[in-house]
């Protein structure tokens, strides 16, 4: 196979206020025609920078390719004058981005943006032909009524739809290379599965190569032929997908693979986590850049950087690859995977718990009215949560899953009474929160705390860590300054932070560390109930495991009850005793965690589980992808809200909304015709 893209010893520097920063060092890899190569790594590894360098987009961000060459079809992009770049961008290589919502210009129609792209590269095409081609492309990427869609503005389409349109636009000039930068990260699992499948089909049809940038090895396993792993600006390993998963040659890759929470992770064991976090580009460690986090570290690793060495058709940059291979073991995660399929269904621990309810929702509904202004034509309400009843028992972890737009976060906020329900009531230890006076409610908040998704936004950037963690203590008027400081220091050590953090500001910490800060603050008042709203979704895989472990430790030590909201089904399965599945404001299934995954009854739950990419290449089954997208909560379908996407929908589903009913011990489902 001829090489389409050859990246040869490329280093990239960025000019910053504090001098030049080398962000990528000596990266080499190539992509053959028709091949899918995945560039994997955590945030800060430099993978996105490399992908942008291929299009020379870094020029606009004060970046420059300081050495090496990037050859696309033999043309060295690194040496190309700026004017000639336009002939490459879009025409030979095209890019799709992580946030489809922001990648389109909101003030032009989709059609105008696509036809413009087509005509920019070939002036001979008439506007009419360009329009025809745009219609064809949209149809090809699976958008229904393409003529209509072309007339719409980006804001009128959903995320999944926009990502399809983005792909259509990228492919409209028949590029030879498609660069996809985290194309599915911002999307729901069900949509992610659809997009990945689409990319796979299009690759064959258009005979192009794909450079996929992702942090999710599950996604990589699904569509990549080869995987290049980056760490702190360097390539540390590259191998074919099967080889990489079967036998990683670098401790970092091994660690990454092990820290993925899979459908088979043993709930009784702690998750594997790589200690520490990725170093900043400004102060990289000497020698091997991974050595401070590496279990195989030796004296040599500290002083000398290992070169990228050939290991029979694959490469790894480690002094100890031979030791890794000699041990000859498959990483433990995979052993567990092999073992789990044969173990009998464990007795449900939660079934034996006393029915001691800590927090209860009674027929809670939350509507957001819109269109109340004089000028709006449409009036109505977004039905975010519709008639949900739920009881969470003391000491359990209840998981809540669903696509975005399912109302799970709203439910969480209503539960804490950060928002008042439109109807229905929330009972905490038997007291109705809605009936309490504001002062009483504030008092009650001591017992219920929350951890947010975004570890950057949820702490005040102007406060020191000590004050942030101590704020709940001051608010509830406990103790003097000295006692408070002692308490805060204790909390910091509880979540694994150094006491030195006390006088520092949030920006000095990484995402994982900030999430620890948020957790320390949340448990400061020894609450009974903790709401973790997507608390680990924004974190890197290796850090995610650290935080999940911390949460389970704390739950045991402090006897917490946790509501864990997440879209990462694997993680939710790992942490939760019971799981609830939400769809379009309705709770459609509740079951003990293990049981839900082994015997999902609702067709939506089945689809959700099927959509999870498995990080084991051999086990890639053709997924039972559900079609379409979640409808607007302002106009939910009649009867069963899932019927528009349900493979088993009947006439009855359109007429009669199904009620939750018990089909097994602790297993409730709202479906007229449950599966299995």
């Amino acid at each position: 196979m001829s090489q389409l893209l050859e990246i040869d010893r490329v280093s990239i520097r960025f000019a910053t206020g504090r001098g030049d920063l080398q962000v990528v060092s000596d990266v080499s890899f190539s992509i053959a025609a028709g091949e899918t190569v995945c560039l994997a790594g955590e945030s800060g590894s430099g993978k996105t920078v490399v992908s942008k360098a291929v299009m020379r987009l870094i020029d606009d961000e004060n970046g420059k390719i300081s050495s090496g060459s990037i050859k696309l079809n033999g043309t060295d992009i690194a040496a190309l004058p700026r004017q000639e770049l336009r002939s490459i961008r879009g025409k030979k290589a095209a890019m799709i981005f992580q946030e489809p919502m922001t990648a389109f210009d909101p003030v032009f129609t989709i059609g105008r943006q696509i036809t413009e792209t087509i005509r920019r590269h070939d002036r001979r095409i008439t506007p009419n032909e360009a329009h025809q081609r745009a219609v064809e492309m949209l149809r090809r990427v699976g958008i229904s009524e393409p003529e209509q869609r072309l007339k719409q503005y980006p804001g009128e389409l959903s995320g999944g739809m926009l990502q399809r349109a983005m792909i259509a636009m990228a492919l409209s000039c028949r590029p030879e290379l498609l660069i996809a930068d985290e194309p599915t990260t911002a999307l729901d699992v069900t949509i992610q599965a659809q997009i990945l499948q689409l990319l796979q089909e299009l690759k064959n049809e258009f005979n192009m190569s794909i450079l996929l940038i992702t942090h999710d090895l599950g996604v990589a396993a699904k569509i990549a032929d080869r995987i290049v792993v980056m760490y702190a600006g360097q390539v540390i390993e590259q191998a074919s997908t099967a080889e990489l998963f079967a036998r990683p040659h670098h401790p970092y890759t091994q660690g990454l693979l092990q820290s993925i929470t899979t459908m088979d992770s043993d709930r009784s064991q702690r998750l594997f986590a790589i200690p520490g976090s990725i170093p900043g580009h400004a102060d990289l460690p000497d020698g091997c850049r991974f050595h401070p986090r590496c279990p195989y570290v030796s004296e040599k690793c500290r002083s000398e950087a290992p070169p990228l060495k050939d290991w029979g058709g694959r490469q790894a940059a480690c002094w100890h690859t031979d030791r890794l291979i000699a041990r000859g073991e498959r990483p433990p995660a995979f052993e567990a995977a092999a073992a789990a399929s044969s173990t009998p269904e464990p007795a449900d621990a939660s079934a034996g718990l006393p029915d001691d309810v800590l927090i209860e929702l009674r027929r809670v509904t939350k509507h957001y009215p819109f269109g109340r202004s004089v000028f709006s034509r449409k009036k109505g309400a977004v039905q975010a949560v519709e008639d949900v009843s739920l009881a969470i028992r003391r000491g359990e972890t209840f998981g809540l899953v669903g696509e975005s737009g399912s109302g799970k976060s709203t439910l969480g906020r209503v539960l804490l009474h950060l928002e008042r329900p439109t109807s229905g009531s929330v009972l905490f230890e038997g007291r109705e929160l809605g009936a309490l006076s504001p002062a009483k409610l504030r008092e009650e908040r001591k017992h219920m705390q929350m951890i947010f998704q975004d570890p950057y936004g949820s702490v005040d950037p102007r406060w020191k860590i000590g004050d942030i963690v101590g704020e709940p203590l001051s608010v509830h008027g406990r103790a003097g300054a000295r006692e408070k400081k002692e308490a805060v220091l204790e909390l910091l050590s509880l979540v694994g932070l150094s006491p030195a953090a006390y006088d520092r500001y949030p920006h000095e910490f990484s995402g994982g560390q900030r999430q620890r800060i948020a957790i320390a603050r949340a448990v400061a008042l020894r609450p009974k109930f903790l709401l973790a709203d997507e608390a680990v979704s924004a974190l890197d895989v290796s850090v995610q495991a650290q935080i999940v472990n911390l949460l389970s430790d704390l739950q045991r030590r402090l006897n917490l009850t946790i509501l864990f909201i997440g879209h990462g089904l694997n993680v939710v399965r790992y942490v939760s005793d019971r799981i609830g599945v939400m769809y379009l404001g309705k709770l459609v299934e509740i079951a003990p965690g293990e049981r839900l995954f082994r015997r999902p009854a609702h067709h939506y739950t089945r689809a959700l589980i099927a959509s999870i990419p498995t990080p084991v290449p051999e086990r890639q089954q053709d997924l039972g992808v559900i079609h379409g997208e979640i409808p607007s909560p302002a106009h939910p379908p009649s009867g069963c809200r899932f019927r528009t996407r349900c493979p088993a929908a009947t006439a009855r589903c359109a007429l009669e909304p199904p009620e939750l009913r018990e089909i097994g011990p602790g297993h409730f489902v709202a479906c007229h015709d449950p599966a299995g």
Binding site: P292, P461, S510, R521
Partner: protein, 297 residues
């Protein structure tokens, strides 16, 4: 972010410097621009406080034998048509100009910020009513508004300050309201509420400090524009008629002589420009110094 990741290793290797230790070297090695700006502002403030120590001549001293002398060794910035020393006039004029500049920003900025903050934080009808009032004020050009207010109140230093303050108030209110609205919706505000903090403490401890920095920058620019507006008013005869003119009055008096004696209005103009520039530089420094994310070497 990038530096953040290394914190863990830093703990092990070196002692954490305190905030003071990190700030002091910064002051010492501060860029020359901030130093110059600081020097200019200090000098002008000194002029305002003790002009008699700085000015070589009395500003009221008119001498027929030195009319319209160009800048030279005896009269550094030349003399005007009355035979007064331009440099001494500028030094003595600083008091009035600086007072109008600072006082009107203080009055306009504080009251504007308060209105904007109330409006943004409370929302609802309070917001609607306050913002419509601000909108109405905004439709009238600033100078015209100041003129009307000054004319209504009659001449006088405080009335000028008030006129300029009212004219600048809507801008502060708008900016503050926008800031409050955006800060209000950030997760750490919800986070604070979720631990049971009262509305007042959320507002004072979180919303306000995070909303102030653009206002600070605007206030610095505002000092300059206020001096100019104040000057405009005194040019139109609504200022205080005194024997010592402020910078704006100097500027307008010298205008007629621009072709024969450029120095009469050029130097007061430069004084205004220099002062405004310096205050802006200091404003930027101040904003950075107040932001913990930038408070590092």
């Amino acid at each position: 972010m990038r530096e953040a990741a290394s914190v863990k290793t830093a703990w092990r290797t070196k002692r954490t410097p305190t905030t003071l230790q990190r700030t002091v070297p910064k002051i010492v090695v501060a860029r020359w621009m901030s130093l110059t700006a600081g020097a200019v502002v200090l000098f002008l403030i000194a002029c305002a406080l003790v002009p008699q120590w700085i000015a070589p001549y009395s500003p009221t001293d008119m001498q027929a034998d030195r009319i319209l002398l160009p800048p030279g060794s005896a009269y550094w910035l030349g003399t005007d048509y009355f035979g007064r020393d331009v440099f001494s006039l500028i030094v003595y004029g600083a008091r009035e100009s600086l007072f109008i500049g600072f006082a009107s920003v203080l009055v306009g900025g504080v009251s504007g910020a308060l209105l904007g903050a109330l409006s943004g934080y409370l929302g609802g009808w309070v917001d609607s009513v306050l913002m419509r009032i601000v909108d109405v004020i905004m439709t009238i050009p600033g100078v015209l508004l100041a003129l009307a207010v000054a004319a209504g109140l009659g001449p006088g230093l405080w009335n000028i300050v008030l006129a300029v303050a009212i004219a600048s108030l809507p801008n502060y209110a708008r900016i503050m309201r926008g800031q409050i609205l955006s800060v209000k919706s950030r997760p750490f505000i919800t986070a604070s509420r979720s631990i049971g903090a009262s509305e007042l403490s959320v507002f004072v401890k979180h919303v306000l400090p995070n909303s102030l920095s653009p206002l600070l920058v605007m206030a610095c620019i505002g000092v300059g524009t206020s001096i100019l507006t104040g000057s405009g008013l005194s040019f139109l005869g609504l200022g205080v008629l005194k024997e010592i003119p402020d910078w704006g009055a100097l500027l307008s008096q010298g205008r007629g002589y621009l072709t024969v004696a450029w120095w009469i209005c050029t130097f007061p103009g430069m004084a205004i420009t220099l002062f405004v520039l310096s205050v802006n530089v200091i404003g930027d420094e101040l904003r950075d110094a107040l932001d913990p994310r930038k408070r590092r070497e």
